[in-house]
């Protein structure tokens, strides 16, 4: 064995934890190597010095100091726990109070609009908003069930809303010969444009003579039925002549109303329709255009034919 190898293992040799073979080799080397022998002696001396360090006296009161500190910790713990419990309890109470009071949000609107400053000027000129980037999502759950707004509707500056239906009540009887007071829903100029003078003159008679343009005077048992059918046909004819669309028609079970026609007509053609119907029938009520939004392109009309 070489000196380096022996020196490395001398500590274990001192401990007596080397193998028998190693022990023999070490002792053989130590017998011939003075340096390693001196090294072993010094090592032995050092180990003995450390081994023989005395046991130091434990300072009085270490055990009691330990127990005191432990009891202090326990006291602090017993103070903190009710405090923390109290806080936790208060938080639970707050949550129970706050959650029910929280207003349920039924309408959520998120809107991001970016407008360029230059486009603000254009808005005032042509009443249009030019948007660089627009994202509008409107989700409603309202009583009236507003539909989700498509983007194109927003660009036109109007929101689609439920069409208001106007109701027109027409008497099944033909227009009387007496002049019927017309409700002035149009301007004076428009009124004068109507060719009613001849009608007024004819109607000067006190007795009302039923004049139905399209009535065939047939003396049949169900003459009134025949008359009524022709009223509906005439009304439908008037509607289609102004490019209106018949949405529905049905016989009414009401004691006064015989028939109901629902149609969709262009806003601009309402006047024409009204004139056409007024020429032929007695209008019990004339729906006012003020109830109709001028921006609507089409209006919904419900015509009730009375007995």
């Amino acid at each position: 064995m070489k000196c380096e190898q022996v020196k490395n293992i001398l500590s274990e040799y001192l401990e007596g934890i080397v193998s028998e073979e190693q022990k023999k080799q070490i002792e053989k080397h130590l017998g011939i190597c003075k340096e390693c022998s001196e090294h072993l002696l010094l090592l032995k001396n050092t180990v003995n010095l450390v081994n023989n360090l005395p046991e130091v006296c434990v300072p009085a009161g270490l055990a009691s100091a330990v127990m005191e500190k432990i009891q202090e910790k326990q006291k602090r713990k017993s103070r903190i726990i009710p405090y923390l419990t109290g806080i936790a309890f208060a938080e639970v109470i707050l949550l129970l109070v706050i959650i029910p009071l929280k207003k349920p949000y039924q309408t959520e609107i998120t809107e991001k609009i970016e407008q360029k400053p230059s486009q603000q000027a254009q808005k005032s000129e042509n009443n249009l908003i030019t948007r660089k980037e627009k994202e509008i999502t409107i989700v409603h759950q309202k009583k009236f069930k507003m539909a989700q707004v498509p983007l194109e509707k927003l660009e036109t500056g109007s929101l689609e809303k439920e069409k208001k239906e106007i109701i027109m009540q027409i008497a099944c009887r033909p227009l009387p010969s007496m002049v019927s007071e017309k409700r002035d829903i149009f301007s004076v100029t428009e009124k004068s444009a109507l060719s009613r003078d001849s009608v007024v003159q004819k109607e000067s008679q006190s007795e009302i003579q039923p004049v139905m343009p399209s009535v065939e005077r047939t003396k049949t048992a169900n003459g009134m039925v025949q008359q009524a059918t022709n009223v509906e046909s005439e009304i439908k004819k008037q509607i289609t002549s102004i490019n209106g669309k018949i949405l529905s028609e049905q016989k009414a079970s009401d004691t006064e109303i015989t028939y109901v026609i629902t149609a969709e007509i262009p806003y601009s053609a309402y006047k024409t329709l009204l004139e056409g119907l007024e020429e032929r029938f007695q209008i019990k009520n004339t729906p006012l255009l003020k109830d109709i939004d001028a921006s609507d392109t089409e209006i919904k009309i419900k015509i009730e034919v009375f007995r």
């Binding site: 490395n8 010094l42 001396n45 010095l49 046991e55 006296c57 434990v58 270490l62 055990a63 500190k69």
Partner: protein, 194 residues
């Protein structure tokens, strides 16, 4: 009601009493049983009586607070030593300790067990040697210091040292060898005389 004297109970039984019933009397018994070993270990690490006292106190408090996590996989002594070594290590590494580190000399009348068989001169000489040895131990790096203290001062087995330090057998042996070599160089002028 169990009226068994805790002093006659083994470590494991005392530990279970503390774990199951928070028996502070049983814990105090454990403290008194191990205070010398733990304090001495702490003293050899710190080289200072006050620091050793604080470390020993902290060690026992830590033992108490974590006793429920002790799974009895090793002996209570091994576990206690491990906590003591770690407590001392943390203290030595702390900034506060390094900033206020002072060299304090052993006081003969408070620290050592008096040996009435030797003369006062011999007593003084012995104290001087012991101081030198402690100083040399203080100079060792921590990993060598811990194995030297546990092996050469506390006389623990290699197996126990492995469990306490978490080091492998070969590593423990090599660190002991290197630690002893360093001490040898520092103490070569001192002669062991008993």
């Amino acid at each position: 009601m169990n009226t068994q004297d805790p002093n006659i109970l083994g470590d494991e039984d005392l530990v279970r009493k503390v774990q199951d019933h928070n028996d502070l009397y049983a814990f105090e018994t454990l403290v008194k049983r191990y205070q010398s070993k733990i304090y001495n270990t702490c003293y050899r690490f710190m080289g200072d009586t006050q620091e050793a006292f604080d470390c020993a106190q902290d060690t026992f408090v830590k033992i108490y607070t974590s006793i429920r996590s002790f799974k009895h996989l090793s002996s209570f002594a091994t576990w206690a030593y491990r906590i003591a070594v770690n407590t001392c290590k943390n203290r030595l590494m702390s900034w506060e300790y390094r900033r206020t580190k002072k060299t304090r000399y052993l006081s003969q009348d408070t620290l050592e067990l008096k040996d009435n068989s030797i003369s006062p001169d011999q007593e003084i000489e012995r104290s001087r040697i012991q101081e030198k040895v402690q100083e040399a131990i203080n100079m060792l790096p921590f990993d060598q210091k811990q194995v030297i203290i546990l092996r050469d001062i506390q006389q623990l087995s290699y197996e126990e040292i492995e469990k306490i330090t978490g080091l492998r057998s070969g590593t423990v042996k090599s660190k002991i060898a290197r630690g002893r070599d360093k001490l040898k160089e520092m103490l070569k002028d001192l002669k062991y005389e008993m």
